[in-house]
Amino acid sequence: MIKKNNLKSHLHLYKKMLLIRRFEEKAGQLYGMGKIGGFCHLYIGQEAVVVGVDSVKKKGDQVITSYRDHGHMLSCGMDPKGVMAELTGKKNGYSKGKGGSMHMFSKSEDFYGGHGIVAAQVPIGAGLAFANKYKKNQFVCFTYYGDGAANQGQIYEAFNMASLWKLPVVFIIENNQYAMGTSIDRASSTPKLFTRGEAFDIPGRLVDGMDVLEVSKATELAASNCRRGDGPYILEMNTYRYKGHSMSDPAKYRTREEVQNIKDKKDPIENFQKHLLNEGLDEDEFKKIDKEIKEIVSEAADFALESSEPDLTDLYKDIYLDN
């Protein structure tokens, strides 16, 4: 957990959020140029969620999420170069060009994907937590899913087992208000997703997902519940996606004013910057960070564009592991 007035760790959170934002903007540009193909779901607007959660994460804790996964990977310490190279389908991407935006993994950073099927990652997250308990380690699995995913049946099957067996899993609902073009009130009989564990005796909390410190605080509570052996916890992060669902979404289901209003009032990065200025950080520091992040991102893009395509012989590799 972040200590009060610990400027250095706060600055670290700020940097991570900014890295995600700039990386995603770059990915959007590369998509427009035809350098990234297929589906590409940007995380812009939701940065505080993953960065706040990861401020609590210990080495060895696992992370698993959906296809909207770039932020999770950058935040958990994966190399922006390898992520961007995967987005562009290159040999030295995290999945050697075979997974793309939606399917990326890093065993060394305990990142278990990157899943393209809505909600399929949720029971898997419970399974990772099952393995933690089985091995008697103290690790927690942070299992993310969206407001739309929250209606899939397998989540409730996972809830039941997680609670029954007191598994160390934090279910993190990234409620960005929309599932593609469907707003939460058009898909859910009740909008309070954090209460959906009640029937299974799983505690839940609603969190301001645009405030990185609030996210961190709530996650600390949830994770220690898990580490104490008290079982799963649900955190509903109230957040917002600025961009279309994927690159080909004309986003006619909401007004530009609605989006602009959130950007003006709730932007997780701008607000946190204001907070840090109040705490006494000076403007020059931010300029330095800005420059530093820009460099990291443009290096990642250059690396990705210059990397070579996978070899055709890779087509048949990694279907099975040799004994």
Partner: protein, 447 residues
């Protein structure tokens, strides 16, 4: 390096060219990153296109209303030199790609081969013809309704159900939550209750979530109830590979469904077949799996004149008559086969092309009769090679018309690998016209 131009962006996985529906800037405007530049018409929708950086618009290079502008063509001149855009080199790479494509142009007007031109009749895309079939059947029978993710207000994730909410209202065009297993079971129940549901899977990849209800409920209840309880349901949506959406979103399930007694399975190629067969499917008292293909929705080769006829389920169609080789195919396999047949013409091989259209029941007779004439056979489909429709047909052909064969039947399929994301690997994983052409030569001993 030309960094003072903005290029036509790619705004969807399948977009190769776009149009300027509307300029949202004028020459001389100073704009900020995130400001809108234009409304761009893609293959799917009209999209707002925003600037990546702060700059000044010095010149608009194309007029409003211009269509068919290739991705990466300059559309605006700006006076900022910070915007990272493809270098000359990258553009060259694209040119090269376009040239190699030209040998076998995917935009070939192949329907000319198949259909007589009739200037007075409108040519429709597969997307439009499916929508028309749905609308006509909904008009004709008030018990027909459509449900699925994003089918109503969003007008369909692939815009197939465009306009249906307006015409039929939210009682009959229903947006569901993302709960495939739940809504498929619910629709099966509604079918038992006397309604005629059409369920759209956003793509058939997500039907896997609903597999139990499809196989164990929809397909078997009539039999298990001794003929009392039928399930008149249509389960439809795009099936097969799209473009670079990788392993979990690109697979062809046709042989899976075709192996289940109790289901009927259709995979049309042309717009006319799509319409006539979907209408038959909706009227059928049995559960019908109706497999569409994202790439064919808007594809010129599959667009066709609509004859407004009901097409019976279970009848193949001889698309091209020929004497040397029979190609048995369906769905997007037809598109590739048509291109391969163009290549075969150059070496004077006459190919007969049969579009199965339906995979259960299969029209064996048409297949056998063709082989009796040509004595050679290739099957072409996109699915995995193990347990393909071609495998099954090969066995039936051996059992029934073995004596007519002059050479072994060859099965052409996708490769035996999960679909990779990278473009070059994806191309290698899919069947290509060149591969089919090689098989044509092989089966006629010309290789």
């Amino acid at each position: 390096m030309n960094s003072n131009e903005i290029l036509m962006p790619a705004l969807s996985p399948t977009m190769e060219e776009g149009g300027i529906a509307k300029w949202l800037v004028k020459e001389g405007d100073i704009i900020k990153a995130g400001d809108l530049i234009a409304e761009i018409e893609t293959d799917k929708a009209i999209m707002e296109f925003e600037s990546a950086l702060d700059c000044k618009i010095s010149k608009l290079l194309v007029e409003e209303g211009t269509n068919n502008i290739k991705v990466n063509t300059p559309i605006v001149k700006i006076n900022d030199n910070h915007i990272p855009l493809p270098t000359k080199n990258l553009n060259k790479e694209n040119d090269k790609k376009n040239k190699t494509k030209k040998i076998i142009n995917p935009q070939n007007d192949v329907h000319d081969i198949d259909l007589e031109k009739n200037e007075t009749q409108k040519i429709l895309t597969v997307r439009e013809s499916i929508r028309d079939a749905l609308a006509e059947e909904m008009r004709a029978d008030e018990n027909v309704f459509l449900m699925g993710e994003e089918v109503a207000e969003y007008q369909g994730a692939y815009k197939v159900s465009q306009g249906l909410l307006d015409e039929f209202g939210s009682k009959r065009v229903i947006d569901t939550p993302i709960t495939e297993h739940g809504f498929t079971g619910l629709a099966a129940g509604a079918a038992f209750g006397g309604l005629k549901p059409v369920v759209e899977f956003m793509t058939f990849n997500f039907s896997l979530q609903a597999m139990d209800q499809i196989i164990n409920t929809c397909a078997k209840t009539l039999y298990m109830s001794g003929g009392q309880m039928n399930c008149p349901i249509v389960l439809r949506g795009p099936n097969g590979a799209a473009s670079q959406v990788a392993a979990q979103h690109s697979q062809d399930f046709a042989p899976w469904f075709a192996s289940i007694p109790g289901l009927k399975v259709i995979q049309p190629f042309s717009a006319n077949d799509a319409k006539g067969l979907l209408k038959s499917a909706i009227r059928d008292p049995n559960p019908v799996i109706f497999l569409e293909n994202e790439i064919l929705y808007n594809d010129k080769s599959a667009s066709s004149e609509i004859r407004d006829e009901l097409i019976p389920i279970g009848k193949a169609n001889i698309l091209i008559e020929g004497t040397d080789v029979s190609i048995i195919s369906y769905g997007i396999g037809i598109k590739h086969s048509l291109m391969a047949i163009e290549l075969a013409k150059d070496i004077n091989i006459s190919v007969e092309l049969i579009d199965l259209r339906c995979l259960r029941p299969i029209d064996y007779n048409t297949v056998f009769e063709s082989i009796k004439k040509t004595n050679r056979c290739i099957t072409v489909e996109e699915c995995f090679p193990v347990c393909s429709i071609g495998n099954h047909l090969s066995a039936s052909i051996m059992e029934n018309v073995f004596d007519y064969l002059d050479s072994p039947v060859i099965n052409c399929t996708g490769k035996d690998v999960p679909m990779p994301y990278a473009k070059n690997l994806e191309l290698a994983a899919l069947i290509t016209p060149e591969e089919i052409f090689e098989k044509i030569k092989k089966v006629t001993n010309l290789d």
